[in-house]
Amino acid sequence: MRLSDDTAVHNLGLESFGGGANIVAVDALDGKVARIRPVHFDEDYTKEELNYWKLTGRNGTVFEPGMKSYTPPFPLVYKCRTYSPNRIPFPMKRIDWNPDGERHPETRGTSKYERISWDEATRIIAAEIKRVHEAYGPHSILCQGDGHGESKAIHTPHGCMTRLLDLCGGYVMQARNPDSWEGWYWGAKHAWGMDPVGQNTHSTNTAQDIAQNCDAMLYWGCDLETNSWGWGGQQASRMAYWFDECGIEHIAIAPDCNYTAAVHADKWFPVLPNTDAALQLAIAYVWITEGTYDREYIQTHSDGFDWFEYYVLGNDDGIPKTPEWAEPLCGIPAYRIKALARYWASHAVSIAHCNGGSYIRAAFSHEPARLEVYLLAMQGVGKPGRISIKYIEWILFGMSSCSPLPPSKVVPNTAACYNGPLIGDMDCFVPKCLVHKALRGEEFSWHGRGTAANGRADQFEQFSFPAEGEPGIKMLWSDNPSFTTSLNGGNEFQDALRSENLEFYLVEAPWFEDDARFADIVLPICTKFEVSDFGTDNDSGQWSAVTYEKAVIDHVGEALSDWEAIQEIARALEVHGGVYENLWMRLTGGKTAEQQIEEGYAACGIAEKERDFEAFKKRGYQLIPTVEDWESQLVGLSGFADDPDANPLETPTGKIEFYSVPLATMWPDDEVRGPVAHWIERGDGHDDRLSSDRAKDYPFLIVSNHPRWRVHAEMDDVPWLREIETCKVMGPDGYAYEPLWVNPLDAESLGLRNGDIAKVFNERGAVLGGVRVTERIRQGVVYMDHGANSDVIVAGLGGLDRGGAINHICPTATSSKHANGEVTSGYLVGIEKVDVFELAARYPDAFARRGFYDPSYGADVRDYLVDGKSCHTSLQAEEGGEQ
């Protein structure tokens, strides 16, 4: 029996930006993907060749890297993405957008599409680029070229178009916000440095240290059993189990019993969303009043503690931050706060994170992030068993010091063959969370480039857009049409897309999801397995790897890769001469993909004597052994703890700063992000406390985490995931709704039962969700993951979404006025049961236009085509289904 006739190794993490993770073996048979499976390293390597490591906990339990890749769910289902019925089959044009006549921006999101050829599409695009260039100049084209697409280098899914536009005068970049790190980025960095994202970057050998010295780990808003899946795999889960076996108490602090707490936690502190700051301040109050913090460490390792102490004790506002003060704010009883504070003060306690969640992406998120650093400092961070670690991004931006596990001796990269932009490297840009303004043609200013790659000082630099005398944005070119379901102010963004100011909206994407349905021209893009590429995997917690990612199937439908698509556009532009002359050759240098792979490998960082291109190509991957003498590398922040003068942090004083002089100097009147972290009740466009007047109309706080069964907007069309109990809720109308978690006590008072469909709403609009009555969410809070594929019934502010894209109704206002972070969790909403049949009667057109919708995979591109005809086959079609 033939099990396969071709095999390749691909990384299926969704790092994009030339990074990668989650390497898997892909078996093809008869031109189709047959299976996707873990890679068994022991078939190609011995442990000696890899400098195999073993860590030992204090009770003798051992942790090892293991000899196969620890594949999370998403790669295993990836062929459903490859063959999704919702793939964009061919170039498409919005029928009532006429570049030579009426453009009808107001019907974006409702008008249908017609099939056009690649020739026609590239001819229109080239003519539009030329028109915009001549009428307005190059800084009128905004590139939305970032996000979490597939990890490809040559065929990078994000920002390829910037390579093209750079050769014809420039462009404006959407500067990607530090979307999973907001609070740490805008807050913690001012307390302890840790550029670029504010999380601890000194984690070397801390897994070993924790296993031997730590008594309890606070999993603070940390869901490693979810967030590691898109970008690293299941070594995180294995490490958490090891810590459990070492007897380390697992304390979860989050409003939800998240997927990590559900299997690991010894205790759960169900804090109300975005009230961690109150809990943290009360802990500090207990330590200060009981004298149980590390006073000597504070004297030698920090600066400005007296300012903080003064505030905590209530000397400046008359409110001591007692546990009794915190209880009604954060929902944790005062007695439990005291117990936690005293336990922490008398044990070695560390903190674990895995990005995202309400804790770090709600309003004022810089405050809990800074307060966390303060608390760590007060208990001597860097001493044995006292550290903050991450279960994700173990080699963030090439920094192997982010990993608590032994690193490989080289961190390979794809830079030499990467065809996208580098994060943070921009001449002209607008911050992602303010992009609504640019699309509407407004003038505005802000501070900081604010991308995940910029250092602390960047936050003090002022910028404005557009430049004097320039007309601003007139064309949007997006390879990431998922803003409305992933970022801030989704409904307001839909309105911006329909602005008269925006003359041309071009989308290139593999799937017809979310914002793509507002575009004027849509280009079909291919996925992994359809093209050959060079990749890396640096986040497995095992060994860094490089991959020769051989294509194993043909392009699906008329799709091209992003890199191939912009070459077609380059050729179409050449016709216009002038600045576009010889553009294709200038863009590509005439290189084939194979040449680029070879160049990528040659320059990836692996020493020449350890490179063998032909062997690499044959095997499909190469692992990089663990660094020699990894055991002797300094543990985490122990150097700073032992001698802060010799091992300073990246703050101005080199110490942990309770009081930030730069913030105080730059913005003396900023009361929301002041020099010392505070509890912020309201401000800067946010009034989302349960004590607010708004809570009369919107009485619940919402938690939106990184989704369990998606990676942001990706994977919502996978039938095998949608069958899982916690993935979707089947409505009485046969529609698969996004789950909405409601505590049984709240469900009772609202008259909600399992399987009911409810409306989640506030002033900004409403989305529908399927009710799951569950003890996994605390009373007063509801939970709905972001990233569901939208199904817009009414677009724009005040609109209605059936798909459950909760970010349609999250705030547009950023973390605070000088911090351009997203606020996508921890805000007020109302909940109300709805009758879906009554809604269908009220919006008959919107409900009726989804004739091809199938609850097993969701939206179907054919519903958006004038003739309802796609052109490619799906997995389902082969079983006799209609196509």
Binding site: R35, P73, E225, S237, A261, W268, P333, N743, Q876, E879
Partner: protein, 266 residues
Amino acid sequence: MKAFLIDLDRCNGCYCCQLACKDEHCGNDWSPIAKPQPMIGQFWCRVDEEERGRVPVVRVAYTPSFCGNCDECPLLEAAPECVSRNEYGFVVIDPDAARGRSDLADLCPHGFVFWNDDLAISQKCTGCAHLLRNGWNEPRCVDACSTGALRFIDEDGDADEIARASHAPGSHVYYLNVPKRWIAGTIVDRSINEVIIGADVTISDEQGNEVARVQTDWCGDFRYYECDQARYQVRIVVEGYESIELVADCRNGDVVFDDIFVIEKN
């Protein structure tokens, strides 16, 4: 005889076993061993999940479930012409010989045989025999497990572990660390907002026989995880406070008390 050994303490609920099974069998034709599984609806490997407890003591119990290839499998008896036990001990259905036999799907009392209407066949787990016969050591579900929760074992060679495991009668799917019901609570003096550390908590059965004695920890919490599906009496004794007697009814689920406020003796 090959068998599945599942350590429930190590199942993180990732569903990779269920998903890898679908990756292997949906849209792939491994005739004559297995015809394609439909895209949705069949679960040759199925993860069950159960939410347990109440805020703030909540857990999810995940249970990967499989055909037990039971000793007394009714399919073997009813349809010997198209159902057999293969060299690994797995009960397999010959897709060609069993065409049209929808009765087979109804015969399995555990729901692990499925009717495929499009192909007119009953289908089930084959143990990925097409892989085992071609160099694989374990089926896709086990290969996809990252935590070590799933193992594909030889019953004879792993007798010690099997002896510690529980299993349904006649089934060759074995479970380690099957969770029992729990009783949990927190003891507090609300008048001073302090948890009570070291309080004695005695758990007795309905007849009054002491089952366990636990103490509250640093957080005032007591937990007892070894309950049967039965009613228990909980007696809380804290020096200087009125004693408290509570009933914990574990027949329908775990018991998590509202925080228990003790009152000082006069």
